[in-house]
């Protein structure tokens, strides 16, 4: 059974660190986006409409950044992790 629980190689460990960093960045961007949504809604309900369009654009940019980081995570995952089982 131990052969199915291999120790992580140095590239795998580095990949995991990179993915953790990307996840932290995504989380930060998401928090900013949540704040932006609540602030925009509050502003809109207060009758201010001038900030609605810039907020939507910024939210879209943040979404693209999150998606880019997700692609990075997926790329690291595909690069580092073997999909095929080792031959016995």
């Amino acid at each position: 059974m131990d052969q199915h629980l291999p120790e992580q190689s140095p590239p795998q460990r580095r990949g995991l660190t990179a993915i953790d960093g990307a996840l932290a960045l995504i989380a930060i961007l998401l928090i900013v986006q949540m704040w932006l949504l609540t602030a925009t809604l509050e502003s809109f309900l207060a009758g201010h409409r001038e900030g609605v369009l810039p907020a939507a654009i910024i939210s879209g940019v943040l979404l693209l950044a999150c998606f880019g980081l997700y692609l990075f995570v997926r790329g690291v995952d595909r690069e580092v992790r073997p999909f095929t089982a080792p031959k016995r």
């Binding site: 199915h4 629980l5 291999p6 120790e7 992580q8 795998q12 990949g15 995991l16 993915i19 953790d20 990307a22 996840l23 995504i26 989380a27 961007l29 998401l30 986006q33 949540m34 932006l36 949504l37 925009t40 809604l41 509050e42 809109f44 309900l45 207060a46 009758g47 201010h48 409409r49 609605v52 369009l53 907020a55 939507a56 939210s59 879209g60 943040l62 979404l63 999150c66 998606f67 980081l69 997700y70 995570v73 997926r74 995952d77 595909r78 690069e79 580092v80 992790r81 999909f83 095929t84 089982a85």
Partner: protein
């Protein structure tokens, strides 16, 4: 560079459900990243929804309508009415012999109905103890961030006529 996954060699489940414990860390993180990106997409949709609402909603036109007779409200008394539409409850307060003020009755926090507290001389929201000044509708304390929308009143003879709604969003000194 890995060769592309082929169905006969690497089925999809093997990519998503790894049989290696070490690989689970990658799968979990990748799926969590996907979840976060979907949440981010939800935030973006929310912002776009606000944008569309702001485009579709034009500048409101308020009707001019008599809402009360001066004599029917005693000093310290109130009258409830609806303005500008039937779904917009408002409260009219006579806080001194010569002064009237009318506001939307929906608390700007979570839309509970505010009432006039005569002994405290303020409008109070019973839900989360948000208090508003009866003179100008500004927030005195509590969770509301915005003042109560003020109904613009005009005195025409013995009538109080509603002329419009002032959202009171401009900062006041």
């Amino acid at each position: 560079m890995k060769p592309p996954r082929t169905a006969e060699k690497d089925p999809l489940w093997r990519e998503e459900v790894s049989i290696f414990a070490a690989d689970e860390r990658y799968v979990n993180r990748r799926q969590f990243a996907k979840f976060l990106v979907l949440t981010s997409f939800g935030m973006f949709v929310g912002n776009v929804w606000i944008l569309v609402r702001s485009w579709l909603t034009g500048r409101p036109v308020y009707p001019v309508r008599a809402v009360a007779m001066v004599d029917e409200i005693p000093v310290g008394g109130v009258k409830l009415f609806r303005y500008p539409g039937p779904d917009d409850p408002c409260i009219l307060v006579r806080y001194s012999a010569a002064d009237f003020a009318a506001y939307s009755q929906k608390c700007t926090h979570l839309s509970c109905a505010v009432y006039y507290s005569r002994e405290n001389g303020r409008l109070e929201c019973p839900c989360h103890e948000g208090f508003f000044s009866v003179r100008d509708g500004q927030v005195i304390q509590g969770p509301p961030q915005r003042p109560l929308p003020r109904i613009v009143l005009e005195r025409r003879g013995g009538q109080l006529v509603a002329m419009g709604v002032d959202l009171q969003t401009e900062r006041r000194a």
